[in-house]
Symmetry: C2
């Protein structure tokens, strides 16, 4: 009798899911590159860069000495992963990534713990999302564990870049692009997955201070039938100009609304949470549901799991509109609004500009706010002050 | 008294428009690179590539010997345009184009006329749209005429690549990407505009034969408040998987619907036209209006202008739903459906699969169809069989 391996079961599952989704079988490789094939080329000692001062870090400006790459080709499949000195990519001017935005990415972090050990935060969640996004992007899939192991090695090699500071961390950016040099809007026959690392401070130039949001319903980030739930590059380009409008009028980010009833969806690069007393007098933490318009953030998921574990207030994934926020504010029932994301972790909101008015949000105006409790809990896990399965040591 | 130059007037106009749109002044450079600064580096004669057989051309697979590039930087502005041998671009792995799809493009063509002269088709329309897209993308603008002159020179240098065939042409792909090597979703401080050329045959592997479309309302290309009217790379990545689903079920393209009433919007890489007898018994040519969901195609605009000039039937830019198409088909009032775009010019539709049924469209089933008249009229202009201001000679 043939032995059924877990890989075979996995293949079958993907095939069945594909049949269910499309009504016909698609042939798709679920093979993967392998960590065990990893080749490592060290940067010359004489060429190692000077590390920036941890207190002066800005988001995404500095890159470490090494990067990881692995090529894929529709004929030969995945190549060997390679870690080598950071370098420019050689990209054909006809490559699909430059024309049709065939690209996706992840954002995750490594932290230097109080015990000196370096930890990743829930990397399995990022891999899950990256593979889902690859499928939606017609890019090949791979085994998440293989990439996690490659990333651990890369971080280990550049571990001196993980800031010795609990206000900072090493941002990890896995990226996946279509490289086939051919015009025509079809899935690419070649692709490159790469990982770069950036030591980072706070995402906003304003630091961990509360942020103001611009909520203008005339700009829409995502829509039903689109890709708003995927971490594709194509979700970001359309937001840049609106983000600039927000900044020029004194806001840090855009609060994206949807629908005639102005539902809250997300805030720029963060998921959004509203903590309020509802009409029944219960304390309730609300975040919009994963309805296809929302990026399923790892921090979002972590806050929901923590809150449900604490079991001290109602936790809801449900639609919430600007009308409900305004009403709660008018009736002194609005407690806090905050964003959640890998870059900012938890970020309090102090005001929302909406329909010509600046609504002042009392997020920081009462003792022991929920958002700072979340931040401390997550930070304690990330920096190893408590032992928790979400923190994954790299060695 | 200071002399007011037309450039100063142009600057003022952009500033005023910006104030009108955002309620505050934005400082934006409207300077441009200049054709007169163009530097030319010829490929070595020994390295010129062999040209593919014109009868075997497929869309976008072959690139000519030269390309044009011009860099922009927020500090120093536009650099000098350079034409040099086709080469890979050196792109930093942190460049914004690879992460946030900061990229846009145009599609235009050069034709070898029956008189041996090479002509572009309405390049001013492409420049208009490219500059509008650059503004929406937070990329710098430039003067369209300067780019047209650079393109003319590039095409002249590679003129042997313009196929000696009236079934083929030289596809011109101006592309504009954000190159700043910094993560963070903000407008780039550096960018690269480049142009590559591809000799092309028909866009569809099936040639100029009628195509079948898949119309599934569960997939949505564009939405109010989004960027569907812009030629940004981000509009294309989300369509690739759906295009693959269409192909795997025997269709050439997707017909994108919008709204609960299933309005027709566009078909893959084409605008869509419906020619029917309306309920009043009039012949009417219908194409969806430029409501923000539709790419304003140069071919679309040209067909509308021709039809209005002919003045032989009603010409409407208005919403049209699948229900109206079905009703007209049932009542034998549907005459033709065809796509229009630079890649395909005019492309007849023979069937639409919708709600589990394959609707047979009689586009090719009557004498002298409108779509072939449009194709011949446009082709006559493009290949110089008639003299027309839309055809711009490159010398």
């Amino acid at each position: 009798m043939a032995r059924v391996t877990s890989k075979k079961v996995g293949d079958l599952f993907v095939l069945l899911k594909s049949i269910k989704n499309h009504g016909f079988a698609t042939l798709r490789s679920v093979s993967s590159f392998k960590f065990s094939d990893l080749e490592v080329k060290h940067q010359d000692l004489s060429k190692l860069q000077q590390k920036p001062d941890a207190s002066k870090l800005v988001f995404g400006k500095y890159f470490t000495d090494h990067m990881m790459e692995v090529n894929w080709d529709s004929t030969t499949g995945w190549g060997k992963p390679v870690i080598s000195p950071l370098h420019n990519l050689q990209i054909h001017p006809g490559a699909k990534v430059l024309h049709y935005a065939v690209e996706l990415f992840e954002g995750m972090k490594a932290f230097r713990g109080v015990d000196g050990n370096i930890r990743l935060f829930r990397p399995d969640c990022n891999m899950e999302r990256m593979i889902r996004t690859a499928e939606r992007s017609s890019l090949p899939t791979f085994h998440g564990n293989e990439l996690i192991e490659c990333i651990k090695r890369l971080v280990t090699m550049d571990k001196e870049w993980v800031p010795h500071s609990e206000a900072s961390s090493l941002y990890i950016r896995p990226t996946f692009i279509g490289t086939e040099p051919a015009l025509g809007v079809v899935s690419p026959s070649s692709a490159l997955l790469f990982v770069v690392l950036c030591p980072v401070g706070p995402y906003f130039a304003s630091g961990q201070k509360p942020v103001s949001l611009l909520a203008d319903p005339s700009y829409v980030r995502a829509w039903p039938g689109g890709c708003g739930a995927m971490k594709m590059g194509s979700n970001y380009a359309p937001t840049i100009r609106i983000q600039k409008v927000a900044e020029q009028s004194g806001h840090q980010q855009v609060l994206w609304l949807y629908g005639d009833d102005h539902q809250l969806t997300e805030a720029g690069t963060m998921n959004i949470f509203v903590f309020l007393k509802n009409k029944n007098g219960e304390k309730e933490l609300v975040t919009p549901p994963l309805n296809g318009l929302i990026l399923p953030g790892v921090t979002r998921r972590s806050l929901l799991e923590l809150a449900r574990e604490w079991n001290e207030f109602k936790v809801s994934e449900r639609d919430i509109t600007m009308a409900e926020v305004k009403e709660a504010l008018d009736e002194d029932r609005l407690l806090e609004i905050f964003g959640a994301g890998t870059a900012c972790v938890v970020c309090p909101v102090s005001s929302i500009s909406y329909e010509g008015k600046r609504l002042s949000i009392p997020t920081m105006e009462h003792a022991s706010p929920l958002n700072t409790r979340f931040l401390k809990t997550i930070n304690d896990i990330q920096y190893g002050r408590v032992d928790h399965p979400w923190a994954v040591r790299i060695d």
